[in-house]
């Protein structure tokens, strides 16, 4: 079959398309046909399928996540709220901070090193995209039992990947979590958090406004990374040339990202962009549709101009590729030269691939033919929304009734001793320095507190001492017993950890790791956790500024413990007043607060 163009789609309405293989349901496919008034081309089908996936569209979680907006507490610190790449918080003195936590669970199981490494890479680009300089990372992790065979494969790889990428980017790692539980054995959780700092005026948004403005793709070349699924399409259209099998593993190049960061910051400082977006999951499809959907509404892209690492890539694959270390910027025509000059200083490849217009359509051209012609909002923002059924699991009552009072208690000194030794020796309580010593905590010279302290603290301004404290927490066992309370406990713990450093908690990010949303029991856990977190945030008067939902974390029928990881960020007017963990001076008075 030859190239599937919009023209050929119009004349061949009855071609059967592999939408099911791409994860689309029949009614979703029908909706695409309805939106377009014809069948989609294979490029369009590829775009809709990834953008309407759970991962990109939040179709199962959206109805619940709305509570974070509806119940948002009154606050005057929030400068950019949910919906952008990351939320932005005012910390005073003209400074703003952006932070967000994301998951890279599934890729990290397949290839622990690269999966975890590209997880760091992705969240750092999200933060950079807001116009901020990334200043620190954290890594909440969950693994199967420490002594399990597979943990021995996964854990060292994940830790080396996080260190390998983060250390090479020059971002201090200031904290995280390591938790072991059997439910994570076939499905580890690799969450990554990044904090960035900017001045108020520097905030950038993912928006393609201003017809006539140029669309510039810059950074690494596009290869066949992470497009395993979409090859179904490519092989249908391109069986003659027969693209070789595509790796679904993305390989990170932290050096390319480090250079990209410096290049972007120089571009921001010279005020050369109107809008910017990083290319993460769903690659160009995501960037072009989101940028145009949020902006003037239209964009024309010439796909042939995309610099390729692999010249056999089909247009569907180029649109879908998840090659790392790429960004897409919207630039006024008069500033394109200056933009390209900075890129060349940093040896970053940059190409004008298209132009913003007010047609209301995203059109993509390949070899002179139009292969995509869609209303971008329908791809990026108006995907399907599900009200998934949820139901309190039947075993929940029994689980809650099974209280600690039934457990044997140590009665003798010897038993007590044995219990304490068992606790001290348990992996969940043990010293984590085998992991944390593989992370650079000193780089950038602003780390005031890091592991093993309760929260990481970084200095933002050397003169005034202004700084921020961040902690992430979650106890999945609590959340399993009661997801509503469990999410609140996670919030409360992170909040306390930040407050204990002397910081005023300001804002929340979260990474909601759950099993399959198609399981009503899991969906109930999710709904309860979101409700709990939203209520808790209202009570503590800290807004949720953004986060991430990761579903389908299960092995066969067994879902992971519900794991709503909560990150809290606080501000310290002067980091010299921080309160370190532990007893510092001889003779200090010890007080116990609370009951």
């Amino acid at each position: 079959m030859s190239l599937d163009t919009v023209k050929s789609a119009e004349t061949t309405p009855d071609v059967t398309q592999p939408y099911a293989d791409l994860g689309l349901k029949p009614d979703e496919y029908a909706r695409i046909r309805e939106i377009l008034g014809r069948r989609p081309t294979s490029c369009e089908l590829a775009m809709y399928s990834v953008m309407w996936s759970e991962h990109c569209s939040y179709k199962s979680s959206k109805v619940h996540l709305r509570q974070f907006g509806e119940k948002a507490p009154q606050t005057d610190v929030l400068m950019v709220g949910m919906g952008e790449n990351a939320g932005v918080v005012d910390i005073g003195d003209g400074y703003a901070v952006t932070f967000k936590v994301e998951s890279h669970n599934h890729p990290s199981y397949v290839e622990p090193y690269q999966g975890a490494a590209t997880g760091i890479g992705g969240i750092v680009r999200d933060i950079l995209t807001m116009g901020a300089r990334p200043v620190a990372v954290m890594d909440p992790l969950r693994f199967g039992p420490l002594d399990a065979e597979d943990t021995r494969r996964v854990l060292p790889g994940v830790v080396a990947g996080i260190g390998g990428y983060g250390n090479c980017l020059g971002l201090p790692n200031i904290g995280g979590e390591v938790v072991f539980d059997p439910t994570y054995l076939g499905n580890p959780l690799v969450n990554a958090l990044c904090v960035g700092v900017m001045k108020h005026d520097d905030i950038k948004l993912a928006k393609a406004s201003g017809p006539g403005n140029q669309v510039i793709l810059f950074g690494a070349r596009t290869g066949g990374d992470g497009i395993g699924g979409v090859s179904v399409l490519a092989s249908e259209t391109f069986d003659a040339e027969g693209p070789s099998k595509r790796p679904s593993v993305q390989v990170g190049d932290p050096f390319a990202e480090k250079v990209l960061i410096e290049c972007c910051l120089e571009i921001f400082a010279a005020d050369l962009v109107v809008g910017i977006q990083d290319l993460g999951g769903a690659g160009l499809s995501c960037a072009t549709t989101e940028l145009s959907s949020a902006g003037a509404g239209g964009m024309h892209v010439v796909l042939d101009r995309v610099p390729l690492r692999d010249s056999t890539l089909a247009p569907e694959e180029i649109l879908m590729s998840e090659s790392q270390e790429r960004m897409c910027a919207i630039v006024e025509p008069s500033k394109v030269d200056a933009f390209l000059e900075i890129c060349s200083k940093w040896d970053v490849e940059a190409v004008v691939i298209g132009e913003v217009n007010d047609s209301g359509r995203l059109t993509v051209e390949w070899r002179g033919e139009t292969v995509v012609d869609v209303p971008p909002r329908t791809v990026a923002h108006e995907g399907p929304v599900y009200e998934r059924p949820y139901e309190r699991p039947a075993d929940q009552d029994a689980l809650q009734a099974d209280t600690a009072s039934r457990l044997p208690r140590p009665a003798t000194a010897a038993e007590l001793r044995a219990t304490i030794l068992r606790l001290a020796g348990s992996p969940n309580l043990c010293d984590k320095s085998w992991i944390t010593s593989q992370y650079d905590r000193y780089v950038l010279g602003n780390t005031v507190l890091a592991m093993p302290d309760d929260a990481g603290v970084v200095r933002v301004d050397e003169e005034s001492g202004l700084g921020v404290a961040v902690s992430t927490d979650c106890n999945g066992r609590f959340a399993r017993l009661d997801p509503y309370a469990g999410a609140q406990l996670a919030l409360a713990e992170a909040y306390r950890n930040v407050a204990a450093k002397g910081a005023r908690p300001l804002a929340v990010t979260d990474c909601l790791n759950f099993g399959s949303p198609e399981d009503p029991g899991v969906m109930w856990q999710f709904a309860e956790a979101v409700r709990g977190l939203a209520d808790g945030c209202l009570e503590l008067e800290v807004p949720v500024t953004g986060g991430n939902v990761s579903f389908y974390n299960q092995t066969g029928e067994t879902a992971i413990l519900p794991t709503p990881v909560v990150g809290v960020l606080g501000v310290l007017p002067d980091v010299r007043t921080r309160v370190p963990m532990g007893f510092v001076n001889d003779g200090d008075t010890i007080l116990l607060l609370g009951d």
Binding site: A160, G163, F255, E262, S437, D440
Partner: protein, 232 residues
């Protein structure tokens, strides 16, 4: 007039800002040098900072060694310009053959970041003259490829000719031969070490202020030169 100390930025340099901060904290003026520059702007000394120059692909420091700025630095170092290589900078100095030996993957195969005690073994360099022989200092070490190796003869003459400047004590973090943490060239103007003195200039952000002395030493040696041979 104060001393001007160049701090080189290669693509992938990470601790260049910290090195510049340390230079400033010592009372000197940092001058940023870009990897494509050949003009050293008349600086009085140069710091090659830590990081992953050019991604540290191939071997750490191998690609940086061929950058334009290094051609100028090699020439100047051979004429006596004080040069301090920290971590990746040390690797660059070895790759450039300004210092002997090489740095290889840590013996435990992991990146290691920790606070490390060092013993000062040589104070006849502009970078260490204000330290005391035998002084023990606490400085962060953070590297994946910090194991110092050289062939047995080289190790032998490093020892007998007093070229070892710092030695790890209370545990060797990376398997370095003879616990070597830092060495110098024959003239003493070129010093390389794996630990990071620029991260030990304030107790707010580091474990001690011991590292600052390397930078103040340079400043003092520039202001009151010709004290070579003396131990302060």
């Amino acid at each position: 007039m104060t001393a001007r100390v160049g701090v080189v930025t290669f693509p992938g340099s990470l601790d260049d800002g910290d090195a510049a901060r340390a230079v400033r904290a010592a009372g000197a003026e940092p001058v940023r040098l870009w990897h494509r520059d050949t003009d050293l702007q008349g600086v009085d000394g140069v710091v090659l900072p830590g990081g992953f120059s050019y991604g540290d692909y191939l071997r750490c420091g191998a690609i940086a060694r061929f950058s334009p700025v290094m051609e100028s630095i090699i020439a100047a170092a051979n004429k006596g310009l004080p040069v301090l290589g920290i971590c990746n900078g040390f690797q660059v100095l070895c790759e450039s053959h300004l210092l002997p030996g090489a740095l290889v993957r840590n013996d435990n195969q992991h990146f290691v970041c920790r606070d490390q005690w060092l013993r000062v073994e040589n104070v006849d360099t502009p970078w260490t003259r204000d330290l005391r022989m035998g002084q023990e200092i606490l400085v962060p070490v953070k590297n994946g490829e910090g194991g110092y190796i050289a062939d047995p003869e080289t190790l032998e003459w490093l020892e007998t000719l007093d070229r070892i400047v710092f030695r790890y004590i209370n545990g060797n973090p990376n398997g370095s031969r003879n616990d070597i943490a830092g060495i110098r060239n024959e003239a003493g103007n070129v010093v390389g070490l794996m630990p990071h003195p620029e991260h030990a200039i304030s107790t707010l952000t580091g474990p001690s202020v011991d590292g600052l002395v390397l930078f103040t030493s340079l400043l003092n040696s520039l202001l009151t030169p010709a004290m070579s041979g003396s131990s302060a």
